[in-house]
Symmetry: D2
Subunit: 123 residues, 4 copies
Amino acid sequence: MAIQQINLQQVNQQIQQCIENCLDCHSICLNTVTTYCIHQGGMHIEPAHIRLMLDCAEICQTSANFMLRGSELHLRSCAMCAEVCDRCAQNCDRFSDDHQMRVCADICHRCAESCRQFSLVAA
Amino acid sequence: MAIQQINLQQVNQQIQQCIENCLDCHSICLNTVTTYCIHQGGMHIEPAHIRLMLDCAEICQTSANFMLRGSELHLRSCAMCAEVCDRCAQNCDRFSDDHQMRVCADICHRCAESCRQFSLVAA
Amino acid sequence: MAIQQINLQQVNQQIQQCIENCLDCHSICLNTVTTYCIHQGGMHIEPAHIRLMLDCAEICQTSANFMLRGSELHLRSCAMCAEVCDRCAQNCDRFSDDHQMRVCADICHRCAESCRQFSLVAA
Amino acid sequence: MAIQQINLQQVNQQIQQCIENCLDCHSICLNTVTTYCIHQGGMHIEPAHIRLMLDCAEICQTSANFMLRGSELHLRSCAMCAEVCDRCAQNCDRFSDDHQMRVCADICHRCAESCRQFSLVAA
């Protein structure tokens, strides 16, 4: 079952799609860094890359949770999530002929766009 | 996009379904307790109920993350997740004529069954 | 043992103190909302208050984790954490003659100040 | 401030010490794997080692959160945490002349013992 079919409360359809994009991005980043990148060596195991993938996974999870709680502060968590996902997408785009990293980059891009819709940048 | 379409590494189709069941259960429990139960009063805001819903949401997230990492210890996290989901499902089943709680109970039941397949109980 | 005695890598003494403030704030907010507020009734169980306490607990945990990973993006997570802690502190300050909520407010204030030192607000 | 000075509710002194041991173990494992191990190469970046360090960090966080919520299910989360910490300690003990890994092993051992006191293994 896709999360879209779940009966969430106080969450409209657009937010529900954003939650799903965050959970997808969390899942692909955490899975890719811990089961793929660390087996590849080279650029894939550069410390900054590994940290950024873990950062992205975690902020996506946190951002999804703010929306799931119906918190008004999701405007802030979405803003931060969009920024981290943008960075992670750019970073993954460097691996130009690596299918798994390109999938990762695409999902990060989509999550960033989705979160940006609901973002409020701190004044 | 449902997580089934994501290109996860080192995760077979059954585990991928279990990850999705955990993320669904995490989502419905966290959302229901923080946007629905706390508005209802009565049995819905009994402290033990609120804690159990939060416990269930968190262990489902943790269990999904163990599987996403391709960790061999997911046999333990799935065992614990199945047990907590069973308890949460039983607890939600008490609210017999409440649609949202019944949805919650169903998703907890499904997550528990799914995790039980991959469980190893400590000797 | 206080975390100050732990041998953290790539984390200077000020960051280490900030990590500890975040973990303290996470601990007091999560504990207070789930074991104290939900037993009190009245203002203590207003949905917006419960959600904010849970938001604060989670972003403090996330912010600590960004620092523990030595991530350069901790400048963003600290900024967001400072903002959420400020809100939570203000919210807890409304319970003027409640000792537990005053303790909570104090720890939120300290965490906010500590995180603000390491904050970079998005341009 | 060490967490012992925090005014936790419904948590006795022994549980409070266990929470602190879990938070210490979470902190040292997450910090060590992401800022030290991935810079070392060799045995330090073996995929199974990295996953186990991340598993240990996460279950310690989850276990601390169950105790902070005053959940009766902390008997299960402590059991699982003890088991994962034992494995992680054994794994870190293999790096016999590496100071950082020995610190990690010691903190994992202490957390495992502490959690074992509050453990109930599933029947």
